[in-house]
């Protein structure tokens, strides 16, 4: 009798697996979502050379100015960055947001040319050529965006391009509430 039950084992495991896969498909969760350990914690160290010639280097003090700050990692080679770029331009121009742009694993002359073409919404722009700062910040790629309150605590972390909905539902209310 037990030997017969043993034969059912592969079938049972197959049913179990099919059930799990079906649940994964149906539950509507985003398999690409990774979540973030940064939210609610002090922003990681910021110590970068400036992207634009003649600018001061980027330091932690920028993140603890008492005003909310948007930190956006981008690269000129990244297509989703192109899609979200006009949103940052709008946030800088219309909403007066303080945006720190960090060119990640990007040749500085290419990043500068990219900003010259598309417009430069960054009050501060840094260069993370070797990606070390990105590592500290828990970056999985570009674009990623962090909202940091005036005391230097990370409040939101967007992986992937920011959308219009993110801007109207999260970023603008965040900027208004913290100002």
């Amino acid at each position: 009798m037990t030997r017969r039950l043993l034969f059912l084992l592969p079938l049972a495991s197959l049913a179990l697996m099919a059930g799990f896969l079906a649940w994964s498909l149906m539950a509507g969760r985003d398999p690409a979502a990774i979540g973030s350990v940064m939210v609610g914690r002090p922003a990681p160290r910021l110590d970068l050379r400036a992207l634009r010639d003649g600018d001061k280097p980027l330091t932690d003090a920028l993140l603890r100015s008492g005003k909310p700050v948007i930190v956006n990692f981008f690269a000129s080679w990244c297509t989703p960055c192109l899609a979200e770029h006009p949103l940052f331009t709008r946030l800088a121009q219309r909403d007066g947001a303080v945006i720190v742009g960090i060119a990640w694993k990007n040749k500085p002359e290419e990043a500068r040319a990219w900003l010259a073409k598309l417009g430069d919404p960054y009050l501060y722009a840094g260069l993370d050529f070797d990606g070390k700062t990105g590592l500290d910040w828990g970056l999985s790629g570009v674009p990623e965006t962090y909202l940091i309150d005036g005391t230097g605590i990370v409040r939101y972390h967007f992986r992937g391009p920011v959308t219009e909905k993110d801007v109207t539902d999260v970023i603008i209310p965040f900027l208004k509430a913290k100002q």
Binding site: L82, H85, P86, R90, K117, G119, E164, K165, V167
Partner: protein, 411 residues
């Protein structure tokens, strides 16, 4: 070649499955023999124990009897199983082993496509849409043209478009400047309006983009080549922003559009007419719907029913005076119904006079008001209007000859 190998592999697999079925007919007699061997062992055991003295004679006889009874029961049990189950057991596995590959082959021959490329491969081999255009050259040419003709709105908006293309579809600040320049030169420049709307959508103001685009859609001539793109973009942005995509004109559903596509031109015309008649009937019940009257006027105009269009425009105008652009459409509907050489009717003259007042250099108003003055006997006024018009016309305008002749008649 690959197909052949696969077929070979399948045949080999089916063969490997079939061979044991065909060779060894597994029957329940095997089982019976196994059982009998056990009972034989047990009988030997009883005999050994009796000989050793650990089992009494009477007990040994009882045990032997019990085992013999089981032997008979086992033989009885084996008989029916062998007969009832054997045919199914013997036939089902080979039948399945043959039927499944045959079924697969049949289905494949029916719906399969030999040589169908894998989907990612097919995508990779398709040439990217934009790469056929030499973008840097396009930008350089557009820039040169815009610099050479700073007053040409089309050159400006072409430059904006080239700059947008250069940025992979993102409307850049430089492109926005070019489009704004184009609009300053020509407020109705459709390309500039479209791309500025696209910029608004990209910059997170989809509502403004949709307002601009719907306005552009409403003002566009019916056959404008960019309308399909514009409508698709309206639908895309509305969907992305979660704004319902109802535009001023109810759009036919996909099914309706498909149904329309299958009709002959006459049937299609009839179907459109049916929709317009429906709108007209609705407006009879609800005559306060000014937007409805304007839609109806536009629909009649497109269908060439100028009298209907004129009536609908006047209904809308009675609710609230129409703007200059609609005034021009209204006047056009009036004069389109005229026979050559016929002077416009008094209501037409009233509309044309309003148009002339709004735009003193409107060619349509100048020409037909001239004709009206001429018919009323005021030849001086007619000649003055026509001369103004003549001065505005380009030297190669085909109407010049006719106009010059009529001026001569008036003088």
């Amino acid at each position: 070649m690959l197909e052949f190998l696969l077929a070979l592999l399948t045949t080999a697999t089916v063969g490997a499955l079939l061979v044991p079925f065909l060779r060894a007919s597994v029957t329940s007699t095997d089982r019976l023999e196994g059982e009998l061997a056990i009972y034989r062992d047990q009988l030997d055991e009883i005999e050994r124990e009796r000989a050793a003295g650990s089992l009494g004679d009477a007990d040994a006889a009882a045990a032997r009897l019990e085992i013999e009874r089981r032997v008979l029961a086992a033989a009885d049990a084996a008989q029916p199983i062998a007969s009832a189950a054997s045919s199914l057991h013997r036939l089902l596995p080979p039948a399945l082993a043959l039927a499944i590959p045959l079924l697969a082959l049949g289905v494949y021959l029916k719906i399969g496509h030999p040589g169908l490329p894998a989907a990612p491969f097919a995508e990779a081999t398709r040439p990217p849409a934009d790469r056929s255009i030499d973008v840097p050259r396009l930008v350089a040419e557009a820039r040169a043209k815009a610099a050479a003709q700073p007053d040409d709105h089309d050159a400006q908006s072409a430059l904006g478009e080239a700059l947008t293309l250069e940025a992979d579809g993102t409307v850049t600040p430089a492109a926005i400047a070019a489009f704004n320049k184009a609009l300053a030169l020509q407020p109705g420049d459709a390309r500039a309006l479209y791309y500025l709307g696209l910029h608004e959508a990209q910059a997170g103001d989809s509502a403004a983009a949709l307002r601009r685009w719907r306005d552009l859609e409403a003002k566009s001539p019916a056959g404008a080549p960019y309308l399909p793109v514009l409508r698709a973009e309206i639908a895309r942005v509305a969907r992305a922003a979660g704004i319902p995509a109802d535009s001023a004109m109810p759009q036919p559903t996909r099914e309706q559009q498909e149904a329309m596509a299958t009709l002959t031109p006459e049937q299609r015309q009839q179907a459109i007419r049916g929709m317009v008649d429906g709108l007209a009937a609705r407006l009879k019940d609800n005559p306060q719907d000014r937007g409805g009257w304007l839609r109806l006027a536009n629909a009649w105009k497109v269908l060439g029913e100028h009298a209907g269009a004129v009536d609908a425009y006047s209904q809308a105008d009675a609710l609230a005076p129409v703007d200059d652009r609609l005034l021009a459409d209204w006047a056009e509907a009036h004069v389109r119904g005229l026979k050559p050489g016929e002077a416009p009717s008094p209501p037409a003259v009233a509309v044309l006079e309003r148009l002339e007042k709004a735009d003193p250099r409107n060619g349509l108003a100048l020409f037909y008001l001239g004709a009206a003055s001429f018919a009323a006997g005021d030849k001086k006024a007619a000649a003055a209007r026509w001369k103004t018009l003549l001065a505005m016309l380009p030297p190669d305008a085909p109407i010049r000859g006719l106009l010059e002749q009529r001026i001569k008649e008036a003088e």
